[in-house]
Symmetry: C2
Subunit: 258 residues, 2 copies
């Protein structure tokens, strides 16, 4: 496993892009192409905090800005509301929602539950080519440097790894459903990624790679409890690193009881 100080190799970048390139809507948008385009744009802006929590979304303005009529815009806002990223107040107004820690906990719960079950099943049976693919992803991660400029690529490969687990288990759809409810978590993650030093701390490449390896070791050995424990520790470690950003950005979060 080599660690290089150059930008991520083209292979690492292209693999991540080709698998994850699909786009923001995860196939969950219903409606025509116009609405889909507005939805993707708005979702991106919300998740990237370009439209921060509390922002009022004025339909007449948005329709003009995006050059669309009220109907596809409505479709887009309804989908965003279903994901909890927007709150539509009937007959009144539409606001970007604050980051909701309970939604985040739910997303984390779902992830742990679903992915643990995936790993359990893979430990019982996995196609050799799937295991080989997972191993090669981990190896590819090892070729990505710790440089801040490579953080996005490493993170994408991390996502590829986890997605490949679901693919191998034949349950991609569950991952899609799970991810479609992860908008709050994405925003929280964004608060961290905006700080590149901190991002580096969160995504400690060596730790992540080791975690992935231990998961695969358990799977390969047919040892479901070991694989599941490795995954739990891996995911828990990720969660623990999310230092509480609420003190720095209280206005971004829902008010929660102590």
């Amino acid at each position: 496993m080599m660690s290089s100080n150059k930008p991520a190799a083209p292979r690492a970048q292209s693999l991540a892009k080709s698998i994850l390139g699909g786009g923001a809507d995860l196939g969950l948008f219903e409606g025509g192409p116009t609405g889909r385009g507005v939805y993707a744009t708005l979702r991106d802006q919300i998740v990237k905090l370009d439209l921060p929590p509390g922002t009022p979304l004025l339909r007449s303005e948005l329709a003009e800005t995006h050059g669309v009529s009220l109907t596809p815009l409505r479709d887009a806002l309804q989908q965003l509301a279903k994901e909890g990223l927007v709150k539509i107040y009937p007959q009144s107004r539409t606001l970007v929602t604050p980051i909701d820690m309970s939604a985040i906990r739910e997303a984390q719960f779902m992830r742990i539950a679903l992915e643990t079950e995936v790993v359990r099943r893979l430990a019982k049976e996995i196609a050799p080519e799937a295991l080989a693919r997972l191993r090669s992803i981990v190896a590819l991660q090892g070729s990505v440097s710790d440089q801040p400029s490579d953080v996005p690529t490493f993170q994408e490969l991390d996502e590829v790894f986890h997605q490949t687990l679901f693919v191998a288990a034949g349950h991609v759809q569950s991952q899609r459903i799970m991810r479609s409810h992860a908008g709050h978590l994405e925003r929280l993650r964004r608060l961290h990624l905006d700080d590149i030093d901190e991002a580096g701390r969160i995504l400690n490449n060596k730790d992540v790679i080791e975690g992935h390896s231990r998961i695969l070791d358990g799977i390969e050995a047919g040892d479901a409890p070991a694989a599941m424990d490795a995954l739990r520790q891996h995911l828990q470690r990720t969660v623990d690193r999310m230092t509480d950003k609420r003190a720095a950005f209280p206005e971004y979060f829902t008010q929660e009881k102590p």
Copy 2:
């Protein structure tokens, strides 16, 4: 535990209704009250197979039949499409989808994964009043007879039990998300429930009650593996009883490779 040949006691029925009474949309519909009403009606018809797979849904007719305009009808159809119950062909037509076994497998996978994690967490920590509540639900199930007329009530209590597990673990939202993708499974179940003799065989009260009790025993003993295994067996037993209805109703199902 007494088994009576009279219709389910009012308490059993009222408890189930008061908890599950919420309605068909699980809070996932976005749009106004008109669209919500049409959505609920259509979903009910689809799930009950009153609108069987393959049925074309003509918007002009539906709008007239339900006394609504095209916009709320559109909202309703889009939500149904998101749940996979309807397929909207752009610029062309809208059809009720066939029952998709892969969607059913996904729903079952999600259920097993989420509920196993719930049970695991409850075995580590559960509020005494929550455990008492679960025990009382099981006791109430024991008071429901095996009579065919009591099948709906028993089934509802079954749902109450499982929902209460999620409530106790603080993850009701995950269950809602899971159930919102269970329309295909609901239709398959419907094929069975239409045959009351078979429904009785599927829902063997004593087995179900015993399964619930073993889950709670594991939880109460703080024995996560035992509780989880009990749940797995319980859910697996339910799945196994779903005899393959495809031979009898091939036209209701998607074509699958053998």
